[in-house]
Amino acid sequence: MTALLELKNVSRSFGGVRAIHNVSLKLEPGQIVGLIGPNGAGKSTLVNIITGVHPASSGEILHKGEPIQRLKPFQISARGIARTFQVVQPFPAMTVVENVMAGAMFAAGIRSMEEARRVAMEHLAFTGLAALADRPAEQLTLAYRKRLELAKSLAMNPHILLLDEVNAGLNTAEVEQALNLIRAIAARGISIVIIEHLLKVVTGLCSRIIVLHHGELIADDPAADVIRDPRVIEAYLGSRFAERQMVRQ
């Protein structure tokens, strides 16, 4: 069976810096995968490579068996791969519902604007933003803007959703709400890759965790194994801590 999304030896350099080096992985339908790693490990870069924002320098990306690494971002969106940005990217002067309509009209290819509005309202109801539909996007709080990113991505009718730190900057209650939303999205059968700093979130949500360090994939295992992996502990906390942990085990 061909994987939903497959990366084969993908690399990307910016000048002399190897941001991503020789990463291979597979994503199966219906999975929630956590993507973790210290700051600067290349997590966002990997999402940018998959979505065509920064094309890979080498390697292959297959979506349902077809190469997509030469496609432009709008073509990748139209194939059903949606993403959110770490720094939210709304259309500030447009209303909340218009923001979501954009995803429905272009990536999901809904021709009529009335139909797009109707679909957008459904996604706003799902994400709990329906009451704010006619507000300009720039007036929303950060938590709501993150939800707007989610609603906009969902309107693109994706089967793969890449979430780049959707919880960053949110308080505990807001994180809890966001997690419930992510679980509800997964329940719709959408495969999710979630970049996250809070380990508690990742372990609670994901069955599988991928760890990046200095642009290289150092672990790709079930969640429970990854948090005990000495290489992962070393990447996050340094070698001395990892040794101590090993002795204790």
Partner: protein, 311 residues
């Protein structure tokens, strides 16, 4: 479009159609000029207003249209054919140029578009065998009375302006306008929600080029004589931007209001301050833009109505 808007639109068109019956040639000439600038401003607005790309090169398309039409017409072909050829050349030029220039953003795009008109002017100057170079180009005389000529070109400009206005309205209420709006606000996000930004930008650029070229072609036939420094004048690039600013960038009606307001202001100031008129005009424009940053069209009738009701 609401019923009131439609009524106002029809009333204005009816008034314009009846204009030659009431006005003299001077008024008609002024009105034709206003319509021409309205077309140029609407053309600019598709790129500068809707897509938010600082276009400083309307003069390039205007001049190219003027010269294309003039060359065809002075070779003995009918006027209509000359204008059609001018629009086709303007359109093709816009598509090619769009592919190259729309990779640039912000200041770089502004400067690049500013230079295009200068390059075309030098080329026109140099290609003496076809364009007449710096001596300019005389167009065949129609042999009509001045009044008939004034009426003819007034109606031609009015027709072009109407087409441009309807096009603007359709663009604004369509996927294209929606996409351009997204591009203006956040081009990277637009790309990610599935908008083929390059394609939509080129379409916008092409609409602008086609209308500016058409206006140039009619202008050339109207004045009967063109020269490079006249039709590639940088003022043809700058004035539409100022008119759009005065009227309201990125709106449907703004460019028309802006063009008329600018020309009325220009005429009034020129009559009253012969020595200082550019200074006074400049000052008035600065004041207008400072206090009405969204343009005259932002003082909508509904807002006036609400103010009157609450007072």
């Amino acid at each position: 479009m609401t019923r009131t808007q439609l009524f106002i639109f029809v009333a204005i068109v009816a008034l314009l159609l009846a204009m030659p019956l009431v006005g003299n040639n001077y008024v008609l000439r002024l009105a034709t000029t206003a319509l021409m600038y309205a077309v140029l401003t609407m053309a600019w607005n598709v790129v500068g207003g809707f897509a938010g790309y600082p276009l400083f090169g309307i003069a390039a398309f205007f001049g190219l249209g003027a010269y294309s039409g003039a060359v065809v017409q002075s070779s003995g072909y009918p006027v209509a054919l000359a204008w059609i050829v001018a629009v086709i050349i303007g359109t093709v030029f816009a598509i090619v140029l769009g592919f190259i220039l729309l990779r640039l953003r912000g200041h770089a795009f502004a400067i690049a578009t500013l230079v295009i008109a200068e390059v075309l002017r030098e080329l026109t100057n140099g290609w003496t065998s076809v364009t007449g170079g710096g001596m300019g180009l005389n167009l065949p005389f129609f042999g009509w009375s001045p009044t008939a000529l004034a009426m003819f070109f007034f109606y031609m400009m009015l027709g072009l302006a109407t087409v441009a206005f309807v096009t603007t309205w359709i663009v604004a209420h369509n996927r294209l306008g929606f996409a351009l709006n997204c591009i203006r606000q956040n081009e990277d996000a637009a790309n990610i929600v599935g908008i083929d930004t390059t394609r939509y930008k080129i379409i916008a650029f092409t609409i602008a080029g086609a209308f500016a070229a058409a206006a140039g072609a009619i202008y050339a036939s109207w004045t009967g004589y063109i020269e490079p420094s006249d039709v590639y004048d940088v003022l043809f690039s700058i004035k539409p931007i100022i008119m759009a600013l005065i009227g309201g960038m990125g709106t449907v009606i703004g460019p028309v209001i802006g063009a008329v307001a600018f020309l009325v202001l220009d005429e009034v100031v020129w009559r009253n301050f012969l020595q200082l008129h550019t200074g006074v005009l400049g000052f008035l424009i600065v004041v207008l833009i400072l206090f009405l940053p969204s343009g005259l069209s932002s003082i909508g009738l509904t807002r006036l109505w609400r103010k009157a009701a609450s007072a």
